[in-house]
Subunit: 688 residues, 2 copies
């Protein structure tokens, strides 16, 4: 019976990818615009593809090395080792390694597809904006949907195939680990790339020589626009791919302990994803905007409708399929909490509320006051999301228990419930960088003020969607890692070792403290890479202006390629330490201090990881919008002291919200996955 | 036998206070300087006393209300309530309330004494600096010692008397709660006061109208110097008083569970404090500096010698008194770790190492790059201290266990070992604001360049001492609250309720998440008070310059009193929310979610509390020194773009290092104490 559901899941996944491909070719058929616009777009496209090629080459090597290590370790039959007789089962190891590599591959393909359509859609959106807002919005949103639909389709197909072939949740765990490792590197690398270029372009271009944003005389302008694609589109795609898969894996691992009913409870998360894809496919149809309509409202309407369709389908399925009602309650808890958290994080980042307005108001007293105020509101913004996560955790736990299934399983289901509608969420989110790029192309190719104004309207909607998505995805990641955390403990126990993650045990407290310091260190490493690389690029831009005075006069073309190279080189070489931290430190803690300490370590990393992710995403968004609010003429308007302070705040917020913040989700997911994967081995061998 | 030790402790405490009083009168006998200097000093003295009077009036009311609540609640005999028969034992309640009020009083007196000598010593130090560096250093350090010695003397006498009278660790817990509650409000209020005035004075004075630091034409200059006294001296004195007492209480509570040996193990922490006072009294003699010597080296020498004397005395005592060797090992672990952490935190904040130099170097690219870089290094600086705390926790635990006593007791002893030499540590720390004030008076009273230069040398040594003290006190507080955390669990169990603070229990995870968000929220509340109040004061300063043009010309005296009032008013009214958060939220979590969740809550607050305290203290110190490094002529020197960026960073760092950061220790201590105090009641009554 339940195998049928897996095949249905694969079918829906194929449908989703089919729709994505159809939309991709539809986008490609649209008018690519004037020759100048196409030339500008081709620079961005080339830069993006070059970077991605280099990134993926590096990641292929990393994946193969990790895959080899996994193959070797999982070939050892561990229960025998403890009995002093070593047998080797290569098939185990090879299966796990293949699952890992397959996960990495799917994650890479999802990111690549998203970027592939984004670099075609940007120039076409700009061209469509010449005609109408409606047309430009439809084009950019459908392009975003390519990414959203491809991603969920690939994920469901990948997980289903592996589960069909092996029947083991552990193999899907390997798949998830592959997806998350790649996502972490893609996200961190893209984040470093995009903010290196953005900050360098702004500081020399806007501040020093006083040319506008996206001016073609700026040697870093192409790198800046490439950054939007490799950071926001490709990186973000890989990121949500990884949470999505990890939430399913967590539930599968927990379901695997359910004895005779385990088969059913392992498949339920896949089923929820399948329903979520159908809901997203339907919900996307409702995202339309009239010529004077509000694109932001259209995106929100699409999200709400998708949620409703999904909720109704899950209810029908649970009732008709005579499933446990706890699954419905947990799903609804996750869904409702996700939406509420998403919209409340809007409070701290939107121009309509006190935090942004107050930060803009005090900016007249200087940059320092702007920074302290924005940072403080960022700290406050942690509260509603944390309270929401606590409420979701406790309600899904107790509702599931009251319905007679494991409460922890309920927490996992609530995470899946949040993420099941990722198809729609990612579509709305991927739309943002596409219109951002369209605006850049319109400016660089001189497409006129009307196009830029329309692009600005589209862009503002993108920023709101982004704020909501971030609150949503951080909360979902928190619930996912809480479920993974429970799965880790189950895995250790399944290996026959008792585990007690009590805060009254000092080795657990030691683990928690070490875990809690990992997200801040990771953030520091990525942000220092940004300032370091930006400093180099600033020198390069200044050099070009100095050595070729014709650039600023508009008679000489700047050397865009050097900046693109600098950004790529810098980002790639900055990934080594963060990667080691993510994979190496949990293993070190586990093998040295033992499984109890590793449990504490994961807990600690979740607690600070979530807090820093929220702090950085929200304060960054707040500073950005405070600056924009001043630019609308408030508190002195453009050029005033308040505006200068606002620009400083915005620049500080850049690596907060686009480099360090978004990688933290993935960091804690990777650390949870690597711990669960190696749990049986760590349970058998550890120093203390 | 062990009662004798308590009497010896009281005797040494009296000796310590005697020496403090002797030094106080010695300081007062020194030359108070010219008439102008005395007048300036009298403004500062008046302002400080006025604020402290208002603060203490408010705190008296708070203490009496809390004392009354405590008296009522602890009069109820709880074991009877659960059996549905209510008996009332007023003597219990009154005893606890008196202990609480006595603790608050001792903490207030320690702060008041420190400030009392500081406002006399500042002008005398400036006057002494006319003669020689040696003389000025001796005067200011001895003035600092008044505070250090009075504080430890009062603490030991207070705890000993209460223990002698009641024989109960719980009564000493009430004393400690009183001391910490007062410390929290004094610290947060002083921190808000000092940075409100500092930021407002700098932004209008230095940045807008271009007059130097401490210029008498600045209407906020008196408030700024008052701030140094009420924030740095009085606040800091109350702060270390509270950690010192809390560490002893934690160990006493743990020792109380030792059955027949409990009497001995409850007295041991008091004994260690007694030895620490003797070591400090001796160590202070070694703090001298020759005319061309380095004051910073002299302070460090004093600390090291005090540590050595203390270690030798403890070793002798353990050997001769035939005590358990675990006590010696744990003490040494704490002592060594404290010193190492103190000196390594110097790495991140001193001009001789990469973080400060690199932050100064990139400042040429603007304020935003300076902020991101400094903040990132601040995040990195968390690592060595956390690793040190982890090492101290694990070593003291396992060394104690290996010696046959409770490992948790060992952790508590290591905290006491760190804090036992507080007499010396506080002396070195209180010296800083005194020389800072002396410099202000020298500037305001026009005492000449040589005096200012000597004051600058003394001031730089004060900043280094401060950085070391902060690392030291945060680590000590971390170990203290870890021991208190264990004591909390013991108290719940002693009430006959089983407690399990396992991270596999979702209600515990909920508690941890809520606890983890409390320190960030607390930081945000205090920092927003600073920007809000500074904004008002900036308006007031601008108003005075506008309405009385004679002020800037030097023909009219500004109205200092209004600024002093504004700062005081603002600081006091900002304390309500933080106080409610510290006392109310733990009780809310405990009574609603139960003792397991409250355990998690305390754990969570410790984890992020320590991380944010380190981040804020170190990044603040780093920005300050990066600015000073640029002012020595590096990377463009004073007036350059790099310098302007450095000033912004320094201003952002101000409330980080002097408002939010230092209060966090006390916040987590107060939350741990209130939880332990109410643990028996929460164990009996809770919603879930």
């Amino acid at each position: 019976m339940s195998e049928v559901w897996i095949y249905i899941g694969i079918g829906v996944g194929v449908l989703s990818i089919g729709v994505a491909l159809y939309l991709y070719y539809w986008v490609k058929r649209q008018d690519p615009g004037t020759k100048e616009a196409q030339e500008v777009a081709s620079w961005i496209k080339e830069g993006s593809q070059t970077y991605l090629k280099r990134l993926y080459t590096a990641l292929t090597i990393v994946s193969l090395i990790l895959g080899f290590i996994i193959a070797v370790i999982f070939s050892l039959n561990l229960s025998d080792v403890t009995q002093n007789s070593l047998t080797i089962t290569p098939s185990n190891g090879i299966r796990m390694a293949l699952a890992f590599v397959f996960g990495a591959l799917c994650s890479a393909v999802a990111g690549y597809m998203g970027m592939g359509v984004a670099v075609e859609a940007n120039v076409r959106t700009a061209t469509a904006a010449k005609d109408s807002l409606t047309k430009a919005f439809r084009l950019s949103f459908y392009a975003g949907s390519v990414m959203g639909l491809a991603m969920v389709g690939l994920a469901v197909i990948g997980m289903s195939v592996i589960f069909l072939l092996t029947g083991q949740a552990e193999a899907v765990l390997g798949f998830s680990f592959g997806a998350s490792t790649l996502a972490l590197l893609a996200k961190a690398g893209g984040g470093i790339y995009t903010k290196t270029a953005d900050i360098a372009a702004d500081l020399v271009g806007k501040v020093e020589v006083g040319i506008p944003e996206d001016d073609p005389r700026n040697p870093a302008v192409v790198a800046d626009n490439v950054g939007d694609n490799v950071g926001d589109v490709a990186g973000m795609g890989a990121d949500i791919f990884d949470s999505y898969v990890a939430s399913v894996v967590a539930v599968m691992l927990l379901g695997a302990t359910f004895g005779s009913e385990s088969q059913l409870y392992m498949i339920i998360p896949l089923l929820l994803c399948t329903l979520g894809i159908i809901a997203s496919l339907l919900g996307i149809q409702f995202v339309r905007v009239r010529e004077n309509g509000k694109p932001g409202a259209a995106l929100n309407r699409g999200t709400i409708i998708t949620c409703l369709i999904f909720a109704i389908m899950v209810a029908a399925f649970v009732i008709l399929g005579k499933l446990n009602y706890g699954i419905l309650w947990a799903t609804l808890t996750g869904l409702v909490t996700g939406v509420i958290i998403g919209f409340t994080s809007d409070y701290f980042t939107s121009e309509d509320h006190k935090p942004v307005v107050e930060t803009a108001r005090v900016s007249g007293s200087g940059a320092a006051i702007n920074i302290i105020t924005g940072f403080s509101y960022g700290l406050m913004s942690v509260a509603p999301s944390i309270i929401g996560i606590v409420a979701a955790t406790l309600s899904s736990y107790y509702l599931a228990e009251a319905s007679g299934i494991s409460g922890i399983y309920g927490i996992g289901i609530s995470a899946v419930g949040m993420l099941a509608i990722s198809g729609m969420i990612v579509s709305a989110d991927a739309y943002g960088p596409i219109v951002d790029n369209a605006r850049g192309i319109a400016e660089m190719a001189g497409m006129g003020q009307e196009v830029i104004e329309r692009a600005d309207i589209l862009d503002a909607a993108g920023n709101t969607a982004k704020a909501i998505t971030k609150g949503f995805s951080i909360s979902a990641a928190a619930l996912t890692v809480l479920a993974l955390f429970a799965a880790y403990a189950e895995t250790v126990e399944a290996a026959g070792v008792s585990i007690e993650i009590s805060l009254r045990n000092p080795i657990v407290v030691a683990g928690v403290l070490l875990g809690a310091m990992t997200p801040p260190i990771f953030s520091a490493l990525t942000m220092l890479s940004v300032t370091h690389n930006a400093f180099d690029m600033i020198e390069e831009i200044r050099r070009q202006f100095r050595e070729k005075p014709g650039i600023l006069a508009g008679t000489e073309t700047p050397d865009y390629a050097t900046c693109v190279d600098l950004a790529a080189e810098g980002a790639l070489s900055s990934l080594v330490l963060p990667a080691l931290l993510a994979v190496g430190v949990p293993l070190l803690v586990g093998f040295v201090l033992g499984p109890d300490a590793l449990g504490g370590f994961l807990g600690g990393s979740i607690f600070t990881g979530v807090i820093f992710a929220l702090l950085m995403a929200n304060s960054g968004g707040l500073w950005d919008n405070a600056k924009k609010y001043i630019e609308t003429g408030k508190f002195g308007g453009p050029g005033s002291d308040a505006h200068k302070a606002g620009v400083v705040g915005d620049t500080v917020g850049d690596p907060f919200k686009d480099t360090a913040g978004p990688s933290l989700n993935t960091l804690i997911t990777v650390m949870s996955l690597v711990s669960s994967l190696f749990a049986p081995i760590i349970a058998a061998f550890h120093l203390f």
